[in-house]
Structure formats: structure tokens, C-alpha cells
Amino acid sequence: MQPFTYERAASLEAAVAAVAARPGARFIAGGTNLLDLMKFQIETPAHLVDIRHLPLRAIEDLPDGGLRIGALATNTEVAAHPRVKREYGVLARAIVAGATGQLRNKATTAGNLLQRNRCPYFYETSLPCNKRQPGSGCSALGGVTRSLAVVGTSPHCIAQNPGDMAVGLRVLDAAVETIRPDGSQRRIAIGDFHRLPGDRPEIEHPLEPGELVTAVTLPRPPGGTHHYHKVRDRASYAFAIVSVAVVLQKDGTGRVAFGGVAPRPWRVEDAEALLPDGPAAVVKTAFQGATPTVENAFKIPLAERALALALSEGRA
């Protein structure tokens, strides 16, 4: 790792001020992704502001019947919360489909949302990567692409968002709450939180320097049956080749988002409106405009089958 200085933030205000004041400063909470990337010198922060002791860990009921998940609540704490298990099952299922028990015990809600991509060329520091070195080029294009995104990509980047939790949050219409260094707070819809690469693949989210995620909020439970299917190369502890989160209502309507296929959780509202017509219709619309490679074109029919499995489970 490159040398860095470290401080434990004494308050929320001090934390955002400390990161805003120093170029190269970063927040650290669970650290499971950041420290991994620091060991590879893909991330080289000059200063770390440890926020784990800030009071942002509670999971609490909202007056409108929703749920507010503190940014520092661990993946395990969220998945094991009685209301998440009972009323937001798709979120619990998505979380436990990712990583391992050890990692979920440490990884936080906000950190999971902000995890970097797992494109092999992002990790290979001897090769160009537009996320790692903006403007250097994309080594994945023309490279090994089997795991990478098929839709929402650009000629500058085809990395997929690797998350599971975010796919569950996407079908639940979650929102991300933040605080900025000037003390102002804002709310970002989960659908706007992960940016498509366009010609600036290094910009992955709309957060400003020093802006800190404080919570993720869920609206009232959507009811219905909840499903999360993840297709991967081994039975446990692997990133998704394709995953699908579904909330299915008795009348056949519902919500659908796909993981492992795009630079963000991929939910197309026009596509999920076709749920009563079956999985083929949903996938055809959801993946309209897709630009898969020869190696990863299989993800689109695989997405249809994963959705079909979820729907058959919901009707059982």
C-alpha cells in the first residue's frame, strides 16, 4: 500500500469537512473493497477518515411505513433484520447471495453501494483502463469479456456493476440519503445513483467530493412474493454472471431488475410492464439496444431463463 495518514472522525460534520479539505482523502468504513484495491495500488488515498464510529448504523421504521437503513449497518445486520426478512425479502436474498459471511459482517450498506467494478482489466494495472486511468483506453474491448456488461455500456467501458444488494434495492425503489460538506442534505433515487459510463467511465456515482452517504431508505413494503436468482460459475462466493430480482404480485404484475449485465442494476419499467406476457417479452424489451460481445451474448438468453425460474417460483 502507498503511505497514508489516518484519522477517526469525531462527528459527521468533522468527517465530511476532513474529506472535503484534503485532496486524495477518502472515507473508510468496512474497507473490504477499498483496502483490497489499496493493496493493488489501484486506489491510493493520501488520507483515510474512519467513519465507523459515527451514529449511522441504526435500522429504523419510518413514519410512512418504510424503513431507514443507516449507511454503516453491515450487510449481515440488514439481511438479519426482522422487517427486512419479513417484508423486504428480495433485499435479504440479494445480500446473502453476495460475498461470504466474514465479508458481510464487515461490509456496510453505503460501502456496498459504492464498491468498484470487478472487470479483470480494471485490476490489471499494467494495461490501460478508462476507469483507472481516464483516457488511457479500454483493454476489455477486444479482450476477454465473458463476465462483462451487455447493455448500458459505451465504447469507453464495458464493466458491469458487480453488486447484488443494489439490484434488490432497485426493485424496492430505495433512495440514498447524503450529507454534503456545507451541511446540506439530499436524497438520490437508487436508479440515479450508479451512472452509465458514457465518455467518463471514471465517474461512477453523483456524489461530490466530501459528500457522505448517511442512509438508504425503503418505501412501504411492496407486498407480493420476493425472488432473487443468481447464476454464477460456482455455487457460492462468486460474482453474478446474471442475477434477477423480482417482486411479483398475485395479478401477475411486478417489478424486475437484472444484475451482472450492465454498469448499474438494470431495471426497465417498460419491460417489467410486460410481465403478464412472460419472461421472453420482458427480456426482449429490457435488453433492447444491447451490444453484447461474442463471448457474453449468452447472458441475454440466460437472463430470460433466470427470470422464468423466478416467475415459476412465484406462481408455485
Binding site: 477517526r8 468533522a14 483496502l35 446473502v96 459471511g101
Partner: protein, 208 residues
């Protein structure tokens, strides 16, 4: 839009924050909290296996390296150093984590339990004894991590933490074969002693 943020922060913390805000004017930004000096070293204290330990470490030292290289507790092993293999699994404040993916500095004030804290050769923890009884290792390198993880898995099931193998999320959790294998998937055994590891854990789990 007004967000329900402030109610989480106690009055005392607001006062502290205000004081820090005043103090920070004209001082380096790091003064807001416990900070590392320009040398990058940091004093910290840990309770390891019930014993209070003080250290002064480079900020880059992981919890794993602090345990092995500075406290000479070499039971905890370094395998991949990237959170893939689980050889470095320890309990921090009773919860299992990968010690390789955590900075020692982040654990100032924490309680750490390593394999040395579970039992000694003359007074084994039931999980250690079960691993011997079931021949649950060959080379033994992954074993400390496997045992720390296994003890924690039983506590997680008790606490109602679901896994990818859980059927009904609302039903009481049980330790089926599928549950055990899924929950232990963060601990790799290169020798392939998995079936005997599973037997050892089931043996301990089945005891009253």
C-alpha cells in the same frame, strides 16, 4: 427536503462537533479526530484473547499483520491477503471477519479473539477437539480460520442471520448440510478436507 438525519445524533455529539469545528479553524484538518502524525504511525490498544495490548504501528498494517508480526500470534494465517481464502478469519467483538481486509488502526479499543484464544493443547475448545476427532484437516494451514468461522457460524444461526441456502426467511434457522456448506464458503481448504470439516461442525452443533 428535510431528512431524518439529526435525530440520530445526540446533543453531546453535536456539542462535540461544534467544539471541533471551532478548534479546527487554523489547524490541520486531521485534528478533528484521533489522527496519525506525518510519520504515518499510530498508537492503538487492542484486547487480544482477553489480554490488553498496546501497539504503535504504521497506518498500513492490517489487523492480520499486527497479530502475526507484532503480537507474534501466528495461529492466524495469511493465505491470499485479499479476503478470498478465509485463512485469516478472527472474531472481532464476537463477529467473524477477514483480518487481512482491515487496518489495525481501525480496531483501536476492539476485542479480538484468535485461534489461540479458543483453547490450548491441554484445554481444547469443543470445536478444536471435534476437528481432531473427525480428522478435519490435512496440512492444517486453513484450520485456525475454519475453526474461528465454524464457531461464529453456529452463533450466526442462533442469531437468525439468513444465508443463501435458507428456505423460509421467517422460520427458525437450522444447520442443514446445505446451510453449513454455504455459510462456510468463505474458508477454502486446499487439501479438500471439507467433508470431515462438515462432520466436525455438525457434531458440535448437535450437542445440547
Amino acid at each position: 427536503m428535510s431528512l431524518p438525519l439529526s435525530h440520530e445524533i445526540s446533543r453531546r455529539e453535536v456539542v462535540t462537533a461544534a467544539a471541533v469545528g471551532v478548534a479546527a479553524a487554523g489547524l490541520p484538518p486531521a485534528v478533528g479526530g484521533q489522527a496519525a502524525g506525518s510519520s504515518g504511525s499510530l498508537p492503538l490498544s487492542l484486547t487480544v484473547n482477553g489480554e490488553h495490548r498496546r501497539l504503535d504501528l504504521d497506518t498500513r498494517v492490517t489487523l492480520l499483520d499486527a497479530l502475526r508480526e507484532h503480537l507474534h500470534l501466528t495461529g492466524t494465517k495469511k493465505g491470499c491477503d485479499h479476503g478470498h481464502c478465509g485463512a485469516c478469519t478472527v472474531l472481532v467483538n464476537g463477529v467473524r471477519i477477514n483480518a487481512c481486509l482491515s487496518l489495525a488502526a481501525m480496531h483501536d479499543g476492539d476485542e479480538v479473539t484468535t485461534i489461540e484464544g479458543f483453547g490450548r493443547p491441554d484445554r481444547l475448545h469443543p470445536m478444536q477437539a471435534a476437528f481432531i476427532a473427525h480428522d478435519a484437516f490435512q496440512c492444517g494451514y486453513c484450520t485456525p480460520g475454519q475453526i474461528c468461522s465454524a464457531v461464529a457460524v453456529l452463533a450466526e444461526i442462533e442469531a437468525g442471520v439468513p444465508s443463501h441456502a435458507t428456505g423460509d426467511l421467517a422460520a427458525p434457522m437450522t444447520l442443514s448440510s446445505g446451510e453449513l456448506r454455504e455459510r462456510m464458503s468463505g474458508n477454502i481448504c486446499r487439501c479438500g478436507a471439507y467433508s470431515n470439516i462438515a462432520d466436525a461442525v455438525v457434531d458440535v452443533a448437535g450437542r445440547p
